[in-house]
Amino acid sequence: MQADYGTGISSPTPVPMTIDPSTSNAAVSAAGLELHYGATPVLRGIDLSLGQGKTLALLGPSGCGKTTLLRLVAGLLAPSKGSVAIAGQIVADAATNAFSPPEKRNLGMVFQDYALWPHMTVGGNVSFPLEMRGVSRADRERRTLHALDRVGLSAYAGRRPSDLSGGQQQRVAIARAIVAEPQLILFDEPLSNLDRELRENMVGELAELIASLGLTAIYVTHDHSEALTLADQVAVMRGGLIEQLATPDELVAQPATPEVADFLRLGGIAELERRDACWVFRNSDIALMRADEGRTDNSRVLIPVAAITPGDIQPDRLAATVLRSQFRGDGHLATVSLIGADHVELQVLSRHKLKPGDGVGLLIDHDQIRWFAHPVHSPQ
Amino acid sequence: MFKSLKSLSLGVVAAALMAGVAHADVTVYTAGPQSLIDKMSEGFTKETGIKVNVFQATTGKVMARIEAEASNPVVDVLISASWDTATDFEKRGWLVKYSSPNAAKVPDFLKSDYAVAQGISALGIAWNTKSGTPKPTEWADLTKAEYKDMVNIPDPAQSGSSFELTAALAGQDEFKLFKDLQANGAIIAGANAEALNPVLQGAKAAVFGAVDYITLAAKKKGESIDVIFPASGTVIAPRPAMILNWSKNQDEAKKFIDYMLSDAGQKLVAAQMLMPARTDIPADRPLIGDLKLLKFDNAAVYGKRKETLGEITKIFGGK
């Protein structure tokens, strides 16, 4: 079924004002949420719940469905199955055909392309949500200036959006999103159009703003550092499903799947098989460590960056060749492949620069290796 | 590939554009029917090998073109729908004296030293036989209630013969007939064919003063239409052919006039339902002898052209 959101004309079913007990204490929750375009599933069953004053990041590669999920929460799309509730009230439920349009959901939203209305001034853009809520003119002016002041643009109220730089436009968009103090603010990859330095500054500013205003927010991004910096909860999404929903700390310490670990760039992923009493890299004769009892015959593991110490090639170390290397601020992060097991690529942090083609010996702290419970066959 | 395509199509365009003019030997401007001049040119070219270039339009447009081109004229032979053109051009000294050997059988009132009629049309009432109105027999019939809002009048400003009919009839009763027509809902409706077209479909029942040959040709094609020549009299319009004195192809032009007046040429005229200029060529239609002609003083009528047209405009409004 195609998605739609009701209009004045199509007279949507009135939204029942009942409170679902299971979600009553959540600012936002979704249950069994699915969305199909024709036969193509975009979301395949999403369950989540976000507490008041918390920030949830939806993290994933493009096409994973994160923006679609956000638009479902915003009311710009209607679910094919499942329900969404905001502040305990069901705003969309495919089963009862209940649907409350975006303007009834008391939201703020920041868009990737800013979406400032070009025919209004900066001030006009920011005061629009207040106007829609019937705030008096004097109050509107005061609150608009206050919101613009928060993002450092109070001097620009009379300008046209097109006169401003990209960073300034995004600040206006943020002011517009917070001015009416909505119960929920949605961010749709707000920083992805900005260059790196500006982006890093804005992440900081945003984090401060969210904390100081106590905002409840959903933040969509494909940048794991943004997500881990801003969010209380991170949902890593893949193929229309939430792969893992956890706090940033849990996510880093205990990624649920190799894919999550890989997406968060926590280290190298390797497949191991038990041969004799050793764990051996699959399709090679290179042994990683001794095998304990009770484990399965093969497994996938994450070898975190922090678990590897690089050095010269010595008999007790795994020999590897440097493929590429990039400076990362605290050192050179090199990707290496094991000699004798070319298909295994690991990440190593080195104090000094490693050149492609160099040999390097790897000392691996076995305790830091994270074992994934069951071998998961990657869809690729 | 694109280049060759371009040059090819340019070549085609150039060839098509030049085709019209380059090989023309005699240029004829005519206010007569297109199909007549087409057939006549074809016959002429077949007989003499001389090609004919044609511009066909209403008399007003033909005259306008000649005037616009006055500084750089190209026309050799002009066939007008109004004898007045011949008189006017002769006075201006624009014509070449020529008497075709084939003009012997053309009555004197249809030729002068400078011009000779190609054929003659007359004006009548064109009436749609399926219109549900009684068949009119007189001009004044069209002021009767049966024809309320059902009559078109060709614009006398756009047609020489229409003007002559208007002037002749208006002179008899000080425009009373036209005032009555207007009171009965008759309207002035453009040039001859424009006035006739609505009568064909039945939007109007009759044309007051239609050019007969167009109507007769339509009747021959199967349209339910007829021409009535009122017994009280009508006007005829001889169509003068003349050779312009700036013509660089005067011999060819004279040959064209000869062909026009030949048996073959006159038969073509008759086939268009015009009266042939030569009295010895038969035609399947009423001839001059069958019609009663209105009497009027040509010079006086044309002397008051502007006043007459002004009065008509006043009666019928518009413009």
């Binding site: 303007e103 209305w117 949605l186 | 007003g60």
Partner: protein, 559 residues
């Protein structure tokens, strides 16, 4: 050689200037001079401005100018009333059969206005097709200002419909939804966001309609005369093509008409430059559209009625007339006949010659305007050479030159006795006229295309060793070709049916499709004229579509 080594600009600019002078400047200057010096035709500069007083004192002129503006305004109003609601529904809602309606509403472009008018006359006059079918007629309505307005609005409203549906669609998807997130109801989002953002595009399209309406000849000539309604174009035509002719008067009226068009066109440019909101990023997709709900039936009905009136009635009327043995026979089965179509194919009255002439002229016009358009656009957009502003200005003038004015100017310019060679009285004069009238199309498309090409693409070609000319030919030309090709196809379709200029300046012995049809009507062979009209509409619609499909398949044209 020195210029060439600097780059493509110089040759392109020279080509553009030469073409513009020949096609635009010559006729325009001729009109201005003739208006000032009434005896110019005799080679005399005596009595400057003497005709102004006589012409401008003519009470009829004020009436004609007033009628022209009145008719233009009425057509604009009627087009807006029809097009805006339909466009908005098309943009925001899922209208069943929307794609089909789009095609049906495109067809009026392909029906020459004078043919559509005659189709309406045959349908609505007493005992017309409407009366034959339903027993009543609408003659008093048709032969009035209201009738003229309706016929012309049906011809021009697609311009507004497509402009509105496209801008509202883009704006609606991108900006109006944002408004709803911030609390606006659909109605408020429409009034506060969608409408103001669409207004410039709407206003610009309405001004285009106004400009087209004041230049139109066929409809006022066929309908207005009966209503005693003269406009400037018919007045000019009368002065120039009926005896006695009045060239100075026609020139002055032409300048008046040019003035009106120019004001309109400058107004349009001003609106667009001042308040044009780029909404290119909007990704309107049908899945974002809303269902019509209870309005489904009325909206589909409205679309069907308008499509039927704009496309169905004229086409059916043309076809019915073309297929009738006799007009007086009416809509009867035994009156059905293919005689008229056979007559066209048997080259009766030079029908095939007229087709060939028009299509040759159409191809020639498309190629020449394409060449001038692409070089002029390149010079204006991509170079910094002096004089490009002059080129820009020259390409604006034809927008404000109605066909009849171009024709008058060409006669004045090329019929001077002292000219050693002249295109006058050859087919080239028509080519010149069509090029002048239609030049703005390729220019507009090519300018837009060049503006979207980054300067670095050409620079890269130069760095990698291409000369300026080569860079233009190998890099820029292929990139603008898709836009240029569509513009040239449009030019072809419009040129092959042009009436106004053709009637006035067609050379001796040369017929075009439009003059052929016009002449058949003037001689009472309505059926033959309509058969020709039907064939011409078919060809000018199908040929460009086929070519586009072929180009698309070969990958030369996107979208």
């Amino acid at each position: 050689m020195a210029a060439k080594s600097i780059g493509g600009p110089a040759p392109a600019a020279w080509l553009a200037i030469a073409g513009l002078v020949l096609v635009v400047v010559v006729p325009f200057v001729a009109i201005v001079l003739q208006a000032i010096f009434p005896n110019l035709g005799q080679g005399s500069f005596s009595g400057p401005f003497s005709s102004f007083i006589a012409t401008l004192n003519d009470g009829a002129l004020i009436g004609m100018a007033g009628n022209t503006i009145l008719l233009g305004a009425c057509v604009v109003l009627a087009s807006a009333l029809m097009a805006v609601p339909l466009g908005v529904f098309r943009a925001l809602y899922r209208v069943p059969g929307a794609a089909l309606f789009d095609v049906l509403l495109l067809v009026p472009f392909m029906i020459p206005p004078y043919i559509a008018t005659l189709g309406w006359i045959m349908t609505l006059q007493p005992r017309g097709y409407l009366q034959q079918l339903l027993g009543f007629n609408l003659s008093p309505f048709l032969f009035s200002l209201a009738g003229m307005t309706m016929v012309m609005a049906f011809n021009t409203f697609p311009v507004v419909y497509f402009a509105v549906s496209r801008t509202v669609e883009a704006v609606g998807a991108r900006y109006a939804d944002v408004g709803r997130v911030f609390g606006a109801t659909p109605a408020r989002a429409f009034w506060r966001i969608t409408l103001p953002l669409s207004a410039p595009g709407l206003a610009a399209s309405l001004m285009l309609v106004f400009a087209a309406a004041i230049e139109e000849y066929g409809t006022p000539a066929a309908l207005g005369r009966r209503a005693g309604f003269q406009v400037l174009v018919t007045g000019i035509d009368l002065r120039i093509s009926d005896w006695p002719i009045d060239l100075p008067g026609a020139s002055i009226m032409s300048l008046l008409l040019v003035g009106l068009s120019l004001v309109t066109f400058l107004g349009q440019r001003w609106i667009l430059s001042r308040r044009s909101y780029q909404t290119v990023n909007g990704k309107p997709t049908s899945k974002d559209k809303r269902p019509l709900g209870a309005l489904k039936l009325p909206v589909v009905l409205a679309f069907s009625i308008v499509s039927f009136l704009a496309t169905g009635v004229p086409l059916l009327s043309i076809l019915a007339t073309a297929l009738s043995r006799t007009i007086s026979g009416g809509l009867a089965f035994d009156n059905l006949s293919l005689d008229n179509f056979l007559a066209v194919f048997q080259n009766s009255a030079g029908a095939l010659g007229a087709l060939a002439n028009s299509f040759s002229l159409g191809i020639g016009t498309a190629l020449i305007t394409g060449l001038i358009g692409v070089t002029a656009a390149y010079t204006v957009v991509k170079t910094k050479i002096r004089g490009r502003l002059a080129i820009d200005t020259l390409t604006i003038i034809p927008n404000a030159l109605p066909g009849i004015v171009v024709a008058v100017g060409l006669i004045l310019a090329w019929n001077m006795p002292w000219l050693p060679v002249t295109p006058y009285n050859t087919g080239f004069i028509l080519l010149l006229a069509y090029c002048c009238i239609l030049l703005p199309q390729p220019m507009r498309y090519a300018t837009a295309a060049f503006q979207q090409i980054g300067d670095n693409l050409e620079a890269a070609a130069r760095v990698f060793g291409a000369s300026g000319v080569t860079a233009f030919r190998r890099i820029l030309l292929p990139l603008v070709f898709p836009s240029l090709a569509s513009a040239m196809l449009l030019v072809f379709a419009l040129a092959s049916r042009e009436l106004v200029a053709s009637v006035v300046i067609a050379p001796v012995g040369m017929q075009t499709i439009a003059t052929f049809i016009w002449r058949q009507f003037e001689q009472g062979s309505i059926g033959l004229g309509m058969a020709m009209a039907f064939i011409a509409i078919l060809i000018t619609t199908l040929l460009p579509l086929t070519l586009l499909a072929l180009l698309k398949r070969s990958g030369l044209v996107a979208e």
